[in-house]
Symmetry: C2
Subunit: 211 residues, 2 copies
């Protein structure tokens, strides 16, 4: 498959959600319609869609259903990958129980914690294991994706263990900067960053929106 | 307060988390140390910190505690703003119960849902109200921040109601593009976008990391 720019990749789920929310009657969609709907530039939309699909029909646009399929294929939504989550607190369990991740190509197959009261519980048919069992589970099930929802203080430790278990992609919800060796990808979900940007729009702070 | 570039603003919580995780003995920190620790450029760190604090002492660096205070002030962590959440499902309740938001300048003071079984429940001393009560609550408590954790299908409706209630900043967790009038800021927390980027690192897709 040809390489795709990261910023295009990030817009694909947005196109997908937009296309899926159109009415069934909308058989064809033009790049202009999508651009207007998402407040993006016309040229950018055309360029992005060219990376996953053929050209739209002149004066008609793209076949909506085919375009949805092309984007889903490109995002790998067909082949669901297993992931583990460490930290069976409130946020961890919310993610563990969020079945929709499967629609996005990921299935959280097991949770891990060190709190003995939680070990052995099952949740939607999936189990919470002791953190000691992480390595065996990951090796046996060839897990490459780990999600961290622990308190900040233990997140680096958990991250190190994950790397030792062969995990190469880590989704970090702990509000802390994690060090990983080269070749391991960290995706930070830093709510503090979102909040900083949001609260700046309340006018108590000023930011320069044009940078 | 002088304007601050958006990208600097987004890095401030990252500096903060880094500085707070250093040991107590670390009285002074240099821009170089921070840059190394966070894999950022030296010049960028100096420029970012100059936006919130005075210069560091030559050959010594910044007073760590004072720098933490300066960043917290700049982010408005002192004055906590109330927010409401609509959608008392799993994710909604996890956020509603996440007390740490207060450390980041936001307090979710009430939740709303249209499921009669949930109305009237209290959670950590905070109440779940009927969606019908949203407007009165927001006006009475001068709420400007709304969080959407509803299913995608009803998110636009909820968003419209929030705008009518005078809410000007919306944190959207529903996987859907929302239309708002000018002057209302939408912050999308699109897990599908995070997943697309993450999964691309598993090698099933390729992206161009340099763009």
């Amino acid at each position: 498959m040809k390489r795709i720019p990261k910023n295009t990749l990030k817009r694909l789920p947005v196109y997908l959600s937009y296309l899926k929310n159109l009415t069934e009657e909308q058989i064809y969609v033009s790049a202009t319609l999508i651009a207007d709907g998402l407040k993006l530039g016309d040229v950018q939309v055309r360029k992005d869609l060219a990376a996953v699909s053929g050209e739209g029909k002149p004066k008609v646009g793209y076949d909506r259903i085919k375009l949805i399929e092309a984007i889903e294929n490109r995002l790998g939504y067909g082949e669901c990958k297993n992931a583990v989550i460490v930290g069976a607190g409130k946020l961890g369990m919310a993610l563990f129980g969020y079945d929709k991740f499967k629609d996005y190509g990921m299935n959280i197959s097991a949770a891990f914690d060190s709190d003995l009261k939680k070990i052995g519980d099952t949740y939607l048919g999936k189990r919470i294991y002791h953190l000691n069992e992480l390595e065996e589970y990951c090796v046996r099930n060839k897990i490459k994706i780990g999600i961290i929802t622990t308190p900040a203080a233990v997140a680096q430790n958990v991250c190190d263990v994950m790397v030792d278990c062969g995990i190469s992609v880590i989704w970090n919800f702990a509000p802390v900067y994690l060090k990983v060796p080269d070749g391991v990808h960290i995706q930070n979900e830093n709510m503090a960053v979102s909040l900083a940007v949001m609260l700046s729009h309340l006018g108590s702070m000023n930011e320069d929106p044009d940078e």
